[in-house]
């Protein structure tokens, strides 16, 4: 009887050790709602910095139309010859700024960070219903952010149809260059982002 009980304790210990967290499971592919909330917070903050930086750039050009700023040439290269922003990139910055602020800062901040962190704590639950899906959700968000940021570097320029993306302007590359690969990446990024709540 006692040996049996001893076995049971050992079994239990063994099982417990099996769940020991490594750096990867704790900080990267974490299923803990509090860690996922922090991941959202950090990603959202980085996207926020990018979004705000864009808004500063295009508002500088708006405040001083046609004026040359060396920083434009340094950051935007061929899109700002002699430091004066090209009309195409101005529209692109407005578009991507709007998209980032609405979908990548508000989503990350409100649902990603606050809901994830606070709701289980407020209602006294141990975690979200599915920790695994919660983790997948964050990584889809990360992938979607990465694709959106990568669209800034394509040769034909990022999406530039305004954040409402009305076709046919957004659908035809002959209407504007940003409706080529840039818009395709924008759509791929948005499609992945929309998987989050599913």
């Amino acid at each position: 009887m006692s040996a049996h009980a001893h076995d049971h304790v050992e079994d239990h210990d063994h099982g417990h050790h099996h769940h020991k967290e490594t750096f990867i499971t704790k900080y990267i592919f974490s299923m803990d709602h509090k860690m996922i909330a922090k991941q959202y917070l950090i990603t959202g903050l980085i996207m926020g910095f990018i979004g705000i930086a864009m808004s500063i750039l295009f508002r500088m050009q708006l405040a001083w139309p046609g004026q040359s700023f060396p920083i434009f040439e340094a950051l935007l290269g061929k899109w700002a010859p002699d430091g004066v922003m090209d009309a195409d990139i101005y529209l692109s910055l407005v578009t991507i700024h709007g998209t980032i602020m609405v979908f990548f800062v508000l989503t990350a901040g409100l649902s990603g960070t606050f809901s994830n962190l606070l709701i289980p704590l407020q209602i006294g639950a141990r975690d979200m219903a599915s920790g695994f899906l919660n983790m997948v959700s964050y990584w889809l968000f990360f992938l979607s952010s990465a694709i959106m940021v990568s669209s800034l570097f394509v040769e034909s320029g990022p999406a530039s149809a305004g954040w409402t993306v009305y076709p046919p302007l957004s659908a035809l590359p002959m209407a504007q260059s940003g409706s080529g690969l840039g818009m395709t990446l924008w759509l791929v990024s948005m499609a992945i982002l929309l998987l989050l709540p599913c």
Partner: protein
């Protein structure tokens, strides 16, 4: 200027860091740090609520005073007066409700701030109160929506006996073209597939259609005062939006379909230029332009008021500059202007003759 701004930004960031450090230090000085708010904290929060109220109303009235002049002038179209009334009444109602509820919200937050020994009262519900705060918004909103709906119907539906001048507005990246229906007041058929740049048929007007011969294609819109104009809008490429702010008119231009909007201008361009607020605006703008011109900045010639047609839907890189001048004339001046224009039929004939001449030349040689 940039250097000055950069210095200001750096200085302000520095100031913010210094203030944060100070706040941090102050919070550390407390003998017994506690997370529970005491009477003094509640008192401070109560006063801060009031301070915030003063701040938002201060900002609101400052904005009314300082930036009120940037609003559009009173409407220059018949329906515009009704539109402006609807807008004004909506704004006044929203402003009053907002003002009263915000004062109450902040006052009660102050009045019932936390005090030692004071307990919150649990207030379940009060049907009478709920009935009042539900029915008042219902009545007010229904009134506003119905008024809006009737105004909309009145603006959008043509009335019996009206014989408006028909004008086509044609949008393309990034300019506007207008086509007058001419003496018969019927526009000739048009299709994007009939566009013939070589023969200057930029709107794709059907040359076989007899109604098209007297059409007049122009790049500057002239309208007679006091006469209803019906715009039929087309777009060649992407979505555009024909926006005539002074007439309170806007309608999307959609490729593949014809959209319509009609209005009656009530004031000529000359009359509009004599309005005190227009004179003031022109004076203000030209003072700024003169200042810029003195600094050697180009494109700062003196400005004169004109009505404009703008594009109000992002349509590409030069969307910001897609516009056409509108001139509202007296009926006599309008007729005079119209008589000077070449009809589509005549311009086609001229072109055909020119082409035949060019083609004929080599044979002569």
């Amino acid at each position: 200027m940039t250097v000055l701004l950069s210095i200001a930004v750096v200085a302000l960031v520095g100031l913010a860091i210094w203030q944060l450090t100070k706040i941090f230090q102050l919070s550390q000085m407390k003998s017994e740090p506690t997370q529970i708010a005491d009477d003094k904290d509640n008192q401070n929060n109560g006063y801060l609520m009031f301070a915030f109220l003063v701040f938002i109303y201060g900002l609101t009235f400052f904005s009314f005073y300082k930036y009120g002049k940037f609003l559009l002038p009173a409407a220059s179209s018949e329906h515009g007066a009704e539109y402006d009334n609807l807008m004004l009444v909506s704004f006044v109602i929203i402003f009053l409700v907002m003002a009263i509820t915000q004062v109450l919200l902040h006052y009660f937050a102050f009045k019932y701030r936390g005090k030692a020994g004071q307990k919150a009262l649990y207030f379940a519900d009060n049907n009478k109160l709920e009935l009042i705060w539900t029915s008042i918004p219902v009545v007010v909103l229904t009134g506003l929506i119905l008024w809006g709906l009737y105004t909309w119907n009145d603006i959008m539906n043509p009335k019996e006996g009206e014989d408006p001048i028909v004008i086509e507005l044609y949008a393309q990246q990034f300019n506007w073209t207008a086509r007058y229906a001419g003496a018969d007041n019927v526009l000739g058929d048009a299709n994007v597939r009939l566009i013939d740049i070589d023969n200057a048929n930029i709107l794709g007007v059907d040359t076989q259609d007899p109604n098209a011969a007297d059409d007049i294609v122009v790049k500057e819109l002239h309208l007679p005062v006091g006469q209803k104009v019906l715009f039929k809008m087309r777009s060649q490429d992407v979505l555009h939006s024909a926006y005539m702010p002074h007439f309170r008119a806007q309608m999307n231009c959609v490729p593949g379909m014809i959209t319509e909007f009609a209005f009656t201008p009530t004031e000529t361009t000359a009359e509009m230029r004599q309005r005190p607020e227009t004179i003031e605006k022109v004076k203000r703008t030209n003072a700024l332009r003169a200042q810029r011109a003195a600094q050697g900045i180009p494109n700062n010639d003196p400005w004169e008021f004109d009505y404009v047609l703008l594009c109000n839907k992002i349509c590409g890189k030069s969307h910001y500059n897609m516009q056409m001048k509108i001139v509202v004339d007296t009926p006599e001046d309008y007729q005079k202007w119209l008589a000077q224009q070449t009809t589509f039929g005549a311009s086609m004939e001229k072109d055909t003759t020119a082409t035949t001449e060019v083609e004929a030349q080599p044979t002569i040689e």
